[in-house]
């Protein structure tokens, strides 16, 4: 069993001017490295314990893996999940829902006060994650929305590894490779611009799934 690099759901320049096409291109190269590395673990000794598991299920298993493969799966399996998920929550201006509606909107308002307040909190989490990592909007075991950030390629599905486990419905890559070419050290500017790429219809679907114990749906093709 081996994973394949999922095809990008849009052209390299679809997220311009917020995320430049060169960055998107290099991000797919980073993503490909994660896919290659997680496949190496799957093919190696002790990889058998992961065979047949979906990529999302693998995230939940990280804590229980033998030491010989735990870090590699955490880093590369996490990287593969995170980047696959990242592509799915963004889209080209004109083809995305630029604001939440319905159930998601009400939940954001009742949890954070307003969309604005939620974004402020998210932006803070994203800006203050020191070093490499991700910021997340997730649903916890009680069905509540919460915001968190994780280091490196960890994600909230990694129960037993992360401080605040849950099911992500929205995520933002704050590794420098995600913004350096266009924004250099101006991470807050990147974060603010990135919101213009978020498709709230996808986030709403992710939210509905998460509330009933499901997972965000995105392409994780096998080789």
């Amino acid at each position: 069993m081996a994973f394949a690099l999922p095809p990008l759901p849009y052209a390299y320049d679809a997220l311009e001017p917020y995320i430049d096409s060169t960055t998107v291109c290099f991000l797919t190269k980073h993503h490909n490295t994660y896919v290659t590395n997680v496949n190496n673990v799957l093919a190696g000794e002790n990889g058998g314990s992961l065979k047949g598991l979906s990529l999302s299920a693998i995230q939940k298993e990280v804590v229980s893996l033998p030491d010989s493969i735990k870090t590699a799966v955490r880093n590369s399996g996490g990287g593969h999940w995170n980047h696959s998920f990242f592509w799915s929550v963004m889209g080209k201006t004109g083809s995305i829902a630029e604001a939440p509606s319905g159930d998601l909107k009400s939940s954001i308002e009742s949890t954070f006060g307003s969309l604005d307040e939620m974004q402020k909190k998210f932006n803070t989490a994203a800006a203050t994650r020191f070093g490499s990592g991700w910021a997340w909007l997730s649903v916890n075991a009680d069905g509540q929305l919460f915001i968190s950030s994780t280091p490196n390629q960890d994600n909230p599905l990694m129960e037993g590894i992360v401080d605040q486990p849950g099911t992500p419905i929205l995520g933002l890559d704050v590794w420098e490779h995600a913004y350096y070419l266009k924004y250099q050290n101006r991470r807050p500017e990147y974060i603010a611009s990135w919101w213009k790429t978020v498709d709230f219809d996808v986030i709403a679907k992710n939210y509905t799934a998460a509330k009933s114990g499901g997972l965000p749906a995105f392409d994780t093709p096998l080789a």
């Binding site: 290099f26 190269k29 020191f130 070093g131 490499s132 390629q153 420098e176 350096y180």
Partner: protein
């Protein structure tokens, strides 16, 4: 280089000064030595270290920005010189490297492997373990941590920044290429000077 020095290094310096002021230490930590001593005590991700600063957020600010600015970036910028201007490592330094690794090439391989293998953001160090018979070691730290916070007495004499901001504009995802190229700008007399100082301070 310009971005690294004028933006990142400058930002860390500003944040460090603010954190020191907030901790009431602005008039106390006024030299590099005082800063190093403070850093040895604010703790690292997995290491030992108590702290004279009660607020964990302030400790983090000092660890991240204090380590980030002075020890790490100072050392990084001072470790380099224009390509072709540094002589090869001296006899003294070569012997110390041989003692720790068997040969210069073995040290270089170990260092480069650590640099390309470091996941996320961090630093790679050639250091003198002054608590371990002055043995030369290659070690890494995450984010802006300093090597002697996790293990007392490990004094860095050469450092390489592998945060993506250090290489992304020129090398993008090709970190191994950056590491390989960086060896051409290492200032070996400077490395030897720091080696000698570390050994003498420990004598």
């Amino acid at each position: 280089m310009k971005l690294h020095h004028d933006k990142h290094f400058a930002a860390y310096t500003k944040k460090l000064n603010a954190a020191l002021a907030a901790a009431g230490l602005a008039d106390v930590v006024t030299t590099e030595g005082a800063l190093r001593k403070l850093l040895a005590n604010v703790g690292s991700a997995g290491g030992r270290g108590g702290s004279a600063i009660a607020d964990p957020a302030l400790r983090a600010a000092i660890r991240n920005n204090g380590g980030g600015v002075h020890v790490n970036h100072q050392l990084f910028f001072r470790s380099m010189t224009a390509p072709g201007t540094s002589p090869a490592p001296s006899v003294v330094l070569s012997e110390a490297i041989d003692g720790g690794f068997g040969s210069f090439d073995k040290m270089r391989s170990a260092f480069s492997a650590a640099a390309t293998g470091l996941f996320g953001s961090g630093w790679v160090w050639l250091a003198v373990d002054t608590a371990g018979g002055n043995r030369m070691v290659v070690t890494t730290t995450a984010n802006q941590d300093v090597p002697y916070a996790a293990k007392a007495g490990v004094v860095p004499i050469l450092g390489l920044d592998v945060w993506e901001h250090a290489y992304y504009v020129q090398y993008q995802n090709r970190r191994p290429e950056y590491v390989e190229a960086w060896w051409s700008v290492v200032d070996w007399p400077g490395v030897e000077k720091r080696y000698t100082e570390a050994v003498e301070e420990n004598a």
